[in-house]
Amino acid sequence: MKTNLYFRRVAVIGAGLTLFRRRMLETPQELAWEAARKALDEAGLELKDIDCVVIGSAPDAFDGVHMKGEYLAHGSGGVRKMVSRVYVGGATGVMVPNTAWYHVASGLCEKVLAVAEEKMSPARPHPQSIFRYIWDPILEKPLNPNLIWIFAMEMHRYMHVNKITKEDIALVSVKNKKNALNNPYAQAAANITVDDVLKSEVLVWPVQLLDTSPVSDGAAAMVIVSEDVARRYTDTPVWIEGVGWTLDNTEWTGRELAYPRYLEYAARMAYKMAGVERPNKEIDVIEPYDPFDYKELHHIEGLMITKRGEAPKFLKEGVFDIDGEIPSSPSGGLLGVGNPIAAAGLMKVISIYWQLKGIAGKMQVKRPVHTGVAQAWGDLMQASTVIVMRN
């Protein structure tokens, strides 16, 4: 990886979200439009000012449209402009601002609208059934897998290798759903206990219902611009200082699942660019990807915030609480806010943007924050995307 220190500076000057809900009336295009419009309003820009649009959305099968990027272009403001859609499975949400970053840093674009949308509700008989088609069509699909198998297998391995209990892990769900009570967009905010998690419906042991994030519809958008533009429109831009992503190979059955080595690589790429040398000391707030509760711990370790297997210990000590040393998922995360896949990833980036700008309202963490990290994860336990932002 080459990391050149002469990057053009790139800033975020606006963001917008729709509600995250199980089922929305709006079409995918309309959802994208609502988020995009809000982001433009916050930035003080109009669509005519935008020169490029970057779209993120996960499987085409959810919204039920082939070439989903082309379909979403119109609602995302991609009219008579450069438009592209990027895709790294569940990790797409953070890949969208990463891509917008290089649109601007390359000098090709000045003002980019970055939009992520997902509408999971159209899928029949259940959105879960779509996930059967993400497996290898020849060797895995014939076993009739569902998506939760993946998480359960990884979670169980993580528990086994690091001697972690389900109680330790359930604390993430408790924390995030509670954080979400402060988030006006949240779908699954709740005051629950570890016991509630352990008593919830067993889906795929060791995964129970409250270990998981819900099925959602929603959209998110950001306005990402060059330094000159940012200075013209705001006194408090938030800078994108590091971007990173890494994909491991497809052979998830042939590797140790207890630790996400690909995430470590992605994080190293982003940290190097941002000049972060000691992540546990220099990062003030994080939004690790948490479609399942253990995932947040797994990712905190991959982000090198703690050593391998030690995230649960720090979680118990309250380090990751909203008033802790390194608040994690102050937005409520996917567990609390909902999981319209690509939009959920971008929501995490927006949460960090709000924190760094100091406009997170009731979600604002107690300590002053300067450096924030958001991360997403996807594909067959093989992909991660990381973004480092500063104010």
Partner: protein, 165 residues
Amino acid sequence: MDGTPLKEEDLKKVNTIVYKPNAKYAYSAGQAYSKFLLGLKEKKIIGRRCNKCGRVYVPPRMYCDDCFRPTDEWIEVKDEGIVETVVASFISWTRERIEKPEIVGVIRLFPSRDKDWVFPGLFHRICADFEDVKNMSLFGKKVKAVWKEERVGSINDIECFRVVE
């Protein structure tokens, strides 16, 4: 401008376009998978070895993605291995409840060692009880493939893997 949430019962009040995509494919299995599937028919688990790094690919690959060169030879691995991870599914792929849980996991096939970061691994059913999944006693157990009588060259030619010791 935050969007309009709908409840289940609201679905009747709105217009829905029902469309079932007619998407059908004939996936080319290719050199590597074809050999693998034919091997299963003969009760063999076929892999492919890279002689440069020594890595064995199961399912086989015609190229080594670490060394970026063609893999060198076919190799038969044992139909035995160690349970890397195991789970018990109480839902089907369409998310309906199932009473008797389906037990699946990853098996690290022999020859491979405990410390290997990458290994020939297979994702399959494991014939075991939910209790053994729950108390995690299956981890590290040695298992062996139970082959079906009638084999057609499919991953389902293996019924499941069963604990042998």
